[in-house]
Structures are given as C-alpha cells and as structure tokens.
C-alpha cells in the first residue's frame, strides 16, 4: 500500500510541473489587456534599478503595466533575438545604428508623427530605413572626447586652453610622459584592448577618421566602400595614446587594464571616454576638476573641432505587437519625455535628452560640449553608426591594432579598416 502511495505521489509530482508550467501564465496577463501593456527591453544595465522603480510608479499612476527587462552587458543582440520570438515580445526596444535598422526594420513601428516624435528637438538621432520609415528615435544622447584631470594637468604646468590641436596635445602629453617619474603620473590611461575597453578605440576613436571622411565625401547613407583618407590621423592619435602612457604597448592586447581605475587613482591626466563616465568620476572629482576636450588627430582646421556627440540609444516600438500595446508604449514614451517625473529621471539616468521639455542635467561633460558649440566649434557626429556588421568590423580592427602594437605593420590596420568595411558591407547587404 505504502509503495503504491509513493508511486502515486511521484507521478503527481512529475505531472504537476507540466500543469503548473501551463497554468501560471493565464493569470498574470489578464490584468493589463484592456489597456495594453509595455515591455521595455533595456540596453543599459546601470539604469536598470532606476527603471524598475519608475515602471512601478508609472503603473501606480496610470494602471498600465510596465515590465522592464535588462539584457546583461554585451548580450543585447542575442537577448533581443530570443525575446522577440516569444509571444509576449518586447514592445519597446533599442535599435541604435544602421546595422540594427537593417536587422530589425520589419519590427519597427513608424514613429513619424507620433506624439513622442513631435516632442523631439532634433531629427539628428532618428534612424530611417531605406523606405523612409522612422525606425527609431533617440531617447538620450551622449558625448565623448578626452577627459582631463585638471588638477593633475595644472601640476604638470599646463592648462586645458594650451591644448588646441594635435600638435599642442602631443607637446603636452610628450612632456608629461617624459617627466612621469618626477610627477608621479603619466599622460594617458592605458588603452586596453580587451572587450571591456577596445570599443573606445575601434568604435569611438575610429569615429574621427570616419567622420572626416563622411564630411569630405558627403555620405548620405552607409557607403559600400570607404577610402581611409584619414587613417594617418588615426595612427597619430593611436601612437600618442600608446606611447605616452605608463603601460607597455605590447601588453595592451591582453593586459586586462582598468583605465577608469587609473584615472580615478590619479595615475594619468587624460582618459578617452564619454559623458556616461560622469556618474562614476564625479564620486571622486569635483566638477571643476574635470573637463572634456576634443580628440585632436591632426586634421586641417581641427582647432574648430568640438566633442563627438551622438547616440546609440534609440527607441524602437515593436510593430508586431498588438495595437493596444503599441499605444500604451507610445504613451509611456511620451510620459517619460514630458512629465516632470519622467524627465527628471531621464536626466538623472540617461543624461541629456533631445526633447523639448527635458529637465536640466548636471553632467559637466555636456556643459563642455555646449560651451564648445557656443564658441562656434563644430560638433562631430557619430559617423560610426554607419558601420556595417559593426561587431565583426570592430573585431577586425582590434585584431589589427593588436598586431600593430606588437610590432606588426600599420598596413594591416588599413586593410582591416578599409577592406574590412567593404567585406562587411557586402555581407550585410547581400
């Protein structure tokens, strides 16, 4: 009898799992159906905590369910692919560049003429597909350049005003590097090439040669081939970064360096990164100790160059979601960029947002970007958003730079940059 009881119980336990698996779902979806609900697949891990709270507040205020899921760093593409296949797919997701548009355009709702679109102050960050559909709109933008520790620069006997172009940047950096022993700090932080840092160079730094080529050749879309006209400038700045630094360049490929840590410890004056670093750096440094200056590479007329401002943070709405969900999502987006609570949150977590009712944010790097623009300098847009098969292309550039650092030829970098572009363009557009 006992045995039978045990076997019946075991049987029940095994089948219970299946029943529970099917049963759970029915209950929790019923709530928001009438109004539609929002599912935001978020791209920035650092904003997750804030977003969860904000989602709850929005639900309390309006009764609309908002679910926020954050993909782990570096896995957005795979998470999005998996989530989109589900019956309850994200209604709000991130399509940050032309490559993303090529992949996801069928899933992008045309945002043109929506209420939230009309709140935009600029169309600069809107991504269109070839049919002219507004696939995604920027929800914040960022700026990058060379972050300067002004206290250290001062100690070395210079001011940021001394740096006006590549020649003066090199003069200052060379001098600091030469006196590093006596000063106790070096010019540049390490330029590590592991995955956590290489995008600063294969992505952001590479933006400069790409931007100048974009301007010279008047790109209107992603070019099938690029010329690499400004790669000598890229070499200038890369050589400067890797020479005037405390670490041996042959160890950059695998050294596992922590450039942010070096900057925070006051080991170097210059650190190439972006406005998103403000939150971390401001914990240690006061606003008057930090300044972001343009990345000079030795291009003619660059004394009028400003910071590199642009974004990869662009919202797309899932066109395959139900009508109610699309509406709920658009309302939510609109709330984020118009309501007081929403805009305050956006300013705190995402920085500068290109919307009419944006709240003021305290990030000094945007102050620097604006100051440069007001002084009549031109802002450098994010030409790298055109990069075809961006991960593969960058991986090639990183591998070639590693080879160059170890004593290889610069020609490989040129090949990876120029021929790599053509190859990836072909692969992406076959």
């Amino acid at each position: 009898m006992k045995k039978k009881l045990v076997s019946v119980l075991l049987c029940a336990a095994m089948t219970a799992g299946l029943v529970a698996g099917c049963g759970g779902k029915a209950g929790d979806t019923s709530k928001g159906d009438a109004k539609g609900s929002v599912y935001w697949l978020n791209f920035k891990p650092e904003a997750d905590e804030g977003l969860q709270t904000l989602a709850k507040e929005y639900t309390e205020e309006t009764g609309v369910d908002v679910k926020v899921v954050t993909a782990a760093s570096g896995t957005y593409s795979s998470t999005l692919t998996a989530e989109m296949a589900k019956s309850e797919a994200p209604t709000l997701f991130v399509v940050g560049n032309q490559g993303g548009v090529a992949t996801w355009k069928d899933y992008c709702y045309d945002l043109k003429d929506t209420a939230v679109y009309k709140e935009l102050t600029t169309d600069d960050f809107t991504l269109y597909d070839e049919s002219g559909k507004a696939c995604s709109i920027g929800y914040c933008y960022e700026t990058f350049g060379i972050i300067v520790n002004k206290t250290l620069l001062d100690k070395a006997g210079y001011k940021t005003e001394d740096i006006k172009d590549f020649a003066s940047l090199k003069k200052v950096a060379d001098d600091i590097h030469a006196r590093a022993g006596e000063l106790g700090f070096d010019a540049f932080t390490s330029s590590g090439m592991d995955d956590s840092s290489s995008w600063r160079f294969s992505g952001h730094l590479a933006n400069l040669p790409l931007y100048y080529e974009e301007q010279a050749d008047k790109w209107t879309g992603c070019p099938a081939e690029i010329k690499g006209t400004y790669l000598d400038n890229y070499k200038n700045i890369w050589d400067l970064y890797t020479t005037d630094s405390a670490v041996d360049k042959t160890t950059l490929a695998t050294g596992g360096y922590d450039a942010e840590g070096e900057f925070l410890n006051g080991q170097a004056v210059f650190y190439q990164n972006g406005s998103w670093e403000y939150e971390n750096l401001s914990k240690k440094y006061g606003d008057d100790e930090l300044q972001m200056i343009p990345i000079y590479t030795g291009v003619d007329g660059e004394e009028n160059q400003g910071l590199c401002s642009g974004t990869e943070n662009c919202w797309a709405v899932n066109a395959k979601a139900s009508e109610e969900d699309i509406k709920a999502t658009l309302d939510f987006m609109n709330w984020l960029v118009t309501s007081e609570k929403g805009t305050t949150f956006m300013a705190e977590k995402f920085g500068e947002i290109p919307y009419k009712k944006a709240a003021e944010n305290k990030n000094v790097f945007f102050r620097d970007a604006k100051a440069l623009m007001e002084a009549g300098k031109y802002s450098v847009d994010w030409a790298f958003n055109y990069t075809p098969n961006v991960d593969e292309w960058r991986a090639g550039v990183v591998a070639a730079l590693n080879n160059y650092d170890a004593g290889g030829s610069w020609d490989d970098v040129v090949t990876a940059f120029v021929d790599g572009w053509a190859t990836q363009y072909k692969a992406a557009n076959e």
């Binding site: 992949t103 490929a253 593969e392 991986a395 004593g407 990876a416 021929d419 790599g420 190859t423 557009n429």
Partner: protein
C-alpha cells in the same frame, strides 16, 4: 510472519498486478519523453527547418531552400575553422588520453597519497570554461610578455595554449574513468600473467589495455566530441585572434573553431547570415555525430567481453 511476506510478494508478481503496471508504464515514461521532445527533438527539427529559411527571430521565418548551405560551404572562414578544429581535436584526443591513462596507471600502483592526487587532478574540471580561458590567458601572457609578445599574436601560441588548457582541464576527468576501468581488470588475470612470466610491458599491452577497452571507448568519445564542440575556452582564450587580412578584405580568424564560427556568424553579421549560421550548425551536428559514430564502432570492436 514468513507466510505473510511471501503472500505479499506473490501479489506483486501476479498477472493482474503486472498488467496494471504495464498500463501505468506509459505514464511513467511521459515526463522523460516530454523533456526529451521539448529539450531536444523539437529544437533539433526546428533548427533543421530554420537552416532552410531566412529569419530574424525563430518564430518568423521564410522558407528559401538550400541557399544557406551553399553559402556555408563558400565561406572561407568556415572551411578554415573546420580544418583547424579537426587538427585541434586530433591532437587533444591523443594527448589527453595519453596523459590520463598514464596518470591513472600510476595512481593505481598503490602510491602513497594517491587519493589526494586523484582529487587534485580532477579539480580543474570543476571550473567553468570561460573562467579557465581567462586564467590561462593570464598565465600564458605572463610568460610570453618576457618575449615581448602575447597569445593573440601567433596562431601557434593560440593553438598550443588551447591544447594545454584542455589537457589541464580534461585529463583529470578521463583519469577517473580510466582508474575505474583499471580497477575492474580481474585480479586473477593479472596474477596468471605474472605466474606465466609476462613482463610489465606485456601485461600492460596484452592484458590491461584490452580489458580497459570499454573505458578507452568512453574516453575517446568524450574527448573527441569535446574537441569538436569546444566553445567557451576558445572564446575566452583567443576569440579567433590573430586575424589574417587577405587581399580583397577576406578575414580569416586563424584560431576560430567551428562552434565559435557559427556563433559569430549568427550574431556578428546581418540577418541574412542567421540562416547561414543555422545551416553551419546542422552541418556541424552531422559532422560530430558522424565522427563519433565511426569512432564508437571502431573501438567497440576491440572491446573484450568479460
């Protein structure tokens, strides 16, 4: 008392009882079968179907036929990854099994502290592949930096680095299987060999190895398939670097193995490549399944029935 027990036992064996067990057997099979179908059969069939499609997400695919397979075969990086993986698999199978067997043999000779040795050799298996890759990358680079280079600079560094890593990780595991096999060699057979005056080498090759053939089958199977399926360690140690840039922009990632090649095709390129990656994955399955079946048949034939 005794009578009661017997009557209870006969009740279980009675025809009626057996029939009802047979009736219930299907129910007992359901959970296992369901998980097999959900976790293997369905994804596998879907994967094969997707390899014939163009798709962005798996739920939204358009059938296009065999184009993906044509592209997969034309892809120079896939062909390179295939040969590189094959070379890696051969070298790693030989080295891992050789070391594992030697260590197992040494540790069954009654050395003092052999349990500690066994534990120590087995331990690397408990560490995940990604972590191992990064740890070893530090070790290798620590050494190579003395010569002003690093593991990402030369294909041969990446290759032998991965071999060392895999040996370090897998030798212990295979050793355990060999030890189990060695301990199961009948004592009387060894004794008979000794009495007949067989030398140590003769005992090893004529008595012990034929008797542990079933362990060899298992170990060869595991190391061979592990060699082909390797992903984490490959990604963490070199991720395919160094690259060779050929004229015309073709990039060959010289240390990229098959699984990593499939992964980077799927996620690194545009949507059209997802079908190609899926086709590569199906080819990959056929390859690994085919090779391991051949290997199983070949070594099974040499097994001794005890």
């Amino acid at each position: 008392m005794a009578k009661q027990v017997r009557s209870h036992g006969s009740a279980t064996n009675s025809k009626m009882m057996r029939r009802s067990i047979q009736k219930w057997a299907i129910l007992f099979l359901v959970p296992t079968l369901a998980s097999f179908v959900i976790g293997f059969v369905y994804p596998f069939c879907k994967g094969v179907y997707l390899s014939l499609c163009k798709f962005t997400t798996t739920e939204d695919a358009t059938f296009i036929g065999f184009g993906n397979y044509v592209k997969a075969f034309q892809d120079a990086s896939f062909v390179h990854a295939f040969w590189y993986t094959a070379l890696f698999a051969v070298v790693s199978v030989v080295l891992i099994n050789l070391f594992a067997f030697l260590i197992a043999y040494a540790l069954t000779q009654g050395i003092r502290g052999s349990n500690i040795f066994r534990t120590a050799f087995f331990m690397p298996n408990l560490i995940g592949g990604i972590v191992l890759g990064y740890i070893w990358s530090m070790i290798f680079n620590g050494i190579l930096s003395r010569y002003n280079t690093n593991i990402l600079m030369e294909t041969k560094y990446g290759f032998w680095g991965l071999i060392i890593l895999m040996c370090w990780q897998q030798v212990g595991y295979m050793m355990i299987i060999y030890i189990a096999g060695l301990q199961a060699v009948p004592e009387d057979m060894l004794e008979a060999a000794k009495i007949d005056g067989a030398s140590r080498a003769q005992t090893l090759f004529r008595v012990i190895i034929p008797n542990v053939m079933s362990s060899i089958t298992v170990c060869l199977f595991l190391t061979l398939t592990n060699g082909f399926k390797l992903f984490d360690q490959n990604l963490a140690l070199t991720a395919g670097q160094p690259y060779v840039f050929k004229e015309g922009g073709t990039v060959v990632k010289t240390t990229e193995m098959l699984a990593l090649n499939i992964y980077s095709t799927f996620y690194g390129q545009n949507v059209h490549a997802r079908g190609t990656a899926q086709a590569k994955a199906v080819l990959f399955f056929i390859l690994v399944a085919g090779i391991s079946l051949i290997q199983l048949r070949a070594t099974r034939r040499k097994e001794v029935q005890q």
